[in-house]
Amino acid sequence: MTASVVESGRFGAFGGRYVPETLIPALDALEVAYADALRDPAFVTALGDSLRTYVGRPSELSDAPHFSALIGAPVYLKREDLNHTGAHKINNAMAQALLAQRMGKKRIIAETGAGQHGVATATVCARLGLECVVYMGEEDMRRQQLNVFRMRLMGATVVPVLSGTRTLKDATSEAIRDWVTTCEGSHYIIGSVVGPAPYPRMVRDFQAIIGREARAQMLERAGRLPKSVVACIGGGSNAMGIFHAFVPDREVELVGVEAAGHGLATGQHSASLAQGTPGVLHGALSYLLQDDDGQIYPAHSVSAGLDYPGVGPEHAFLKDSGRGTYVSVTDDDALDAFGQFSRMEGIIPALETAHAISWIMANAGRWAPDEPVLLCVSGRGDKDVAQVAEMGIVPL
């Protein structure tokens, strides 16, 4: 078994381009522009400079003394929360915005759930002088008011999406509809490793810097590769980003943590890999939460960034091939980890990240004292404090 990418835009059977005919030429053009850009030293240099001087890369690898003591093994934190705008999302947004500029596109479309991808996109658009339109579910706008404010502050237009579940799923559909209408002058910056080819591979490649840095940092700091690499999964971009460099390292376990919401048995969760079946949504064949009639279930997670009924097709492939291990954590356990980790390490993690933290906590003792664990801290939790306070867990 190899986990190599089939260049047809498929990962095994998963992926593809299940989109309206109108978008096929735009996807063809994107594929070509992306390949050209990667071969162009000027693009590679411009991206590298932007990531270093504007985003703040490389991101640090921190130790976590109290958390490690609790787990019984050294846990290392890949600090994507320290990036400009506070999450890994900007790695991809910056790269795609530079690509859009290279393609002569003046208008950028994005969807957002928790708002982190929307903020990252609004940020790079301000920086590069591009018009920015962000689609966001009305329910998510309520949950993430701070991020809505940040996007508007930086000049983006935030369009509330009132259809369906009013969350990330419907925001993505609305962004696709915009692109079908404006594809000749607009570029759609998808925020995760989802959507039609070439997006899952391209976003993975732009996020793979997380794993490349972390792998080198682990070798330098721990003197060995991690036993396990752990990351949360909604669409799966921070997980694919940190996993990718480790895929050929067969001895390294790759663990993706989905949102179990109110519990897998309740049906109110976002665990597409654990509970879903293969189907087509938003341009790709992957695992989906769907009923027997092929209608998509509304997902649920306390974390807006994980609240999505699908998952990137490469994760579907890694699951079926056995290379990836996929588990899930409930809302309550993630909230508990959110508080505990904040107190223990002085790092307020995003609620998304808190799912991965919780899974490691629940598995304390699973690793020998000399087996390091690498955790992707996908983002910081400032955006979540108002929501958590509202839930009464920690008084504001």
Partner: protein
């Protein structure tokens, strides 16, 4: 049956009126009355929408009708029952997305044919993107109607034409389904290019909502498809949708 319909229209020098309705919208009883009313008002082909929860190719009107139909419990099977019960004499084309059709199982197309459908159109399965599933549609008992977009290059138009059966559905403009004030100015040249590479009848849809549009596009194409305007009229009453269809028929026949 779709081909025969277009042959006889061509022989009579007439243009096809293709009317869309979402199965189960506004509710089951009115949906049934609407299908029969559209036929009586002069529709040549009926497109019956099998609702999908996430219709990315559709604008607000058909999105809303799909949500309402799903809320009333409409399914692929339910749409087939509706078609059977309507006892239509015009050809019926199922209009949907890949996911609900695949979920209906390997014999879904045969069940659809037995229920009285003649064609199938899948908005999110472009030519060449999934040969295995395309072969399933192509080898089945229904005419597999393919779509051409204004962005489709000439070579690809030819490829699409060779993969389609029944007719080719030309999308009139960039965007999703929905009404508009004016027909795209690029339509005549797109149609002319498509004609060069396509021997199937060509029907133009997306944004055709008034008798004036029907006349204008009818002068260029073999047929027109009207969807959102009918669905929006049906929101108010079946009679209104039927009256609109009559006016479209009259405009198309005046030429």
């Amino acid at each position: 049956m779709i081909t025969q319909r277009f042959d006889s229209l061509r022989a009579a020098g007439r243009r096809a009126l293709v009317c869309y309705a979402t199965a189960g919208h506004p509710d089951r009883a009115r949906s049934l009355a609407l299908l029969q009313g559209l036929e009586a008002a002069g529709a040549d082909v009926l497109e019956v929408g099998v609702p999908f929860s996430d219709p990315v190719a559709d604008g607000p009107v058909i999105q809303s009708s799909s949500q309402q139909a799903l809320a009333h419990g409409m399914t692929f099977e339910g749409a087939l029952e509706l078609i059977t019960e309507a006892k239509l004499s015009v050809p019926v084309v199922l209009f949907s997305y890949l996911n609900p059709i695949v979920a209906a199982g390997p014999d879904a197309l045969h069940r659809a044919r037995a229920a009285g459908a003649h064609g199938v159109l899948v908005t999110d399965l472009p030519v060449g993107e999934d040969p295995e599933r395309e072969a399933w549609f192509g080898a089945g008992p229904l005419d597999f109607v393919r779509l051409v977009a204004p962005t489709t290059p000439r070579d690809r138009m030819g490829l699409i034409a060779t993969h389609g059966r029944g007719f080719v559905y030309l999308i009139s403009r960039l965007g999703v389904t929905g009404m508009q004030d004016e027909i795209s100015t690029s339509l005549p040249s797109t149609l002319a290019t498509l004609r060069e590479v396509c021997t199937l009848p060509i029907c133009v849809g997306f944004g055709i909502s008034t008798p004036a549009h029907a006349r204008q596009v009818g002068a260029l194409a073999d047929g027109i498809v009207v969807g959102s305007a009918i669905v929006r009229a049906a929101e108010r009453s079946v009679d209104e949708a039927v009256a609109l269809t009559r006016s479209l028929r009259a405009a198309l026949d005046e030429g």
